[in-house]
Amino acid sequence: MLTLKQSRRLQSVVVGTLSWAVALLIFFPIFWMILTSFKTEMDAIATPPQLFFAPTLENYLHINERSDYFSFAWNSVLISFSATVLSMLIAVPAAYSMAFHESRHTKRTLLWMLSTKMLPPVGVLMPIYLLCKSMGLLDSRIALIVIYTLINLPIVVWMVYTYFKDIPVDILEAARLDGATTFQEIGRVLLPIARGGLASTMLLSLILCWNEAFWSLNLTSSAAAPLTALVASYSSPEGLFWAKLSAVSTLACAPILIFGWISQKQLVRGLSFGAVK
């Protein structure tokens, strides 16, 4: 008979082993991509696939060779950050008023915002494409910035709203009694308290913008194309560039992966529209 302590330990070993096995299996493709990025093109397509090889940095050193990696990366950075800042500027006042000055329309407004996310992008592909074309905005960063701002706005409003909801109204009332105007109330009292929540909201928005791949593939070709489009350009079978593709992909995903790891807990709230905290 096992003692209670022994059986607890046994359980921990079994659960741990199983969990590690599942985790390694799910993570394997990413691991393999990173590994391939350090291979030569010859090693990358070797059969059978090689786990041990002489690693090389050549793919990273010549990352700009096949395509102008840095211009794509710069587009990604510029578009994601601009769209994130813009959507925060629009969303914070809205979330403030819905969280602290609730009216009978508030709930309906929130749900309606959520429902705009249900509009599939293909439903408006044609008009957006033609509008961009007629305004000379095809392959421009501005078009993507505006679109990303709008598609993320509902999520950003919801996420900021749930963070604001957690702040006791009394604190704001106190500021108000001391004669603060609405904007002082938001700027001096509310935003400093909600700093953490706002930061994770921005992180989520950055992640979503960075990885967006419907509009970037359809509306850009080269000048304004972000990393998602650069990676997609490797899909044409004009030669075997797997090691280079892996290096480009690894660099494209690394920052977001790290953001995601850091903020996993907070992201849950935004991704679940505040339903899971």
């Binding site: 493709p29 407004t109 959520l114 997609a232 899971v276």
Partner: protein, 310 residues
Amino acid sequence: MNSSALDTVAGTPAAAPRAKPRTLKPGWFLVSPSVALLLLWMIVPLGMTVYFSLIRYNLLSPGENEFVGLENFEFFVTDPGFMPGALHTLTLVGSVLAISVIFGVLISALLEACEFWGRGIVRVLLISPFFIMPTVSALLWKNLIFHPVSGILAAIWRFFGAQPVDWLAHHPLMSIIFIVSWQWLPFAILILMTAMQSLDQDQKEAARLDGAGPIAIFWHLTLPHLARPIAVVVMIETIFLLSVFAEIFTTTSGGPGYESTNLAYLIYNQALLQFDVGMASAGGLIAVLIANIAAIILVRMIGKNLTDQQ
């Protein structure tokens, strides 16, 4: 940084609250930019789509934009790609939902069962695929895993003496379901794991003392607790899965034939490859209709729940 952002807002004349700000609620003019923009974003393009869907409009033959009634819809629905496209859309959404919910519950239950060595790292590894951009994960699977010559699966098949399979050519839809599940299962794990952490441990302990086994506890305590988070996972994944695009675009281009075409890809095909604006718009409206049916059902189910809890 946030306060500077606010200063610019406060600086605009329209935003400065002049008369007693307390008598007039600041509510509507703070919410209105968001509402106005989203309304514009919905109504203008959607209105244009409706208009385009009713006229003959091909970018290759400009100038003859006559009104054709529902002809575009008729053509789209009778297009040889429509039935497969609609069917594949539903199959894709259904399968990925089933996979991510079932495995999501099992895996997060496993992780939360007890403390073990390296749990933090396991958690991080498990949720990672969710943060990989869709074009990367599609090409990664296509070239490094599914490739019939140098892919990992081919190597495993050969190791067991079997003939390697060209997955994307012979089982295109299944392969895409696999890739998309790989991206969305981590999302389910992320949400469900966090939800499980908020489960009352005392309750579990009490049940254990009353002689409930781990399976009974899972079935009667954990699962009911997960009802809401599961609903959330279903709702959000449905929104994104209905318009899976990049994964198909970069791996199979919808083929062979229509075997891996979904509605999103079919419409893209009509629009930007055949330049048939009218028909693409009709298709777009049908996609909107399908999404809305799903949305109405889902919001009825859980939307109310979402706001009630706040």
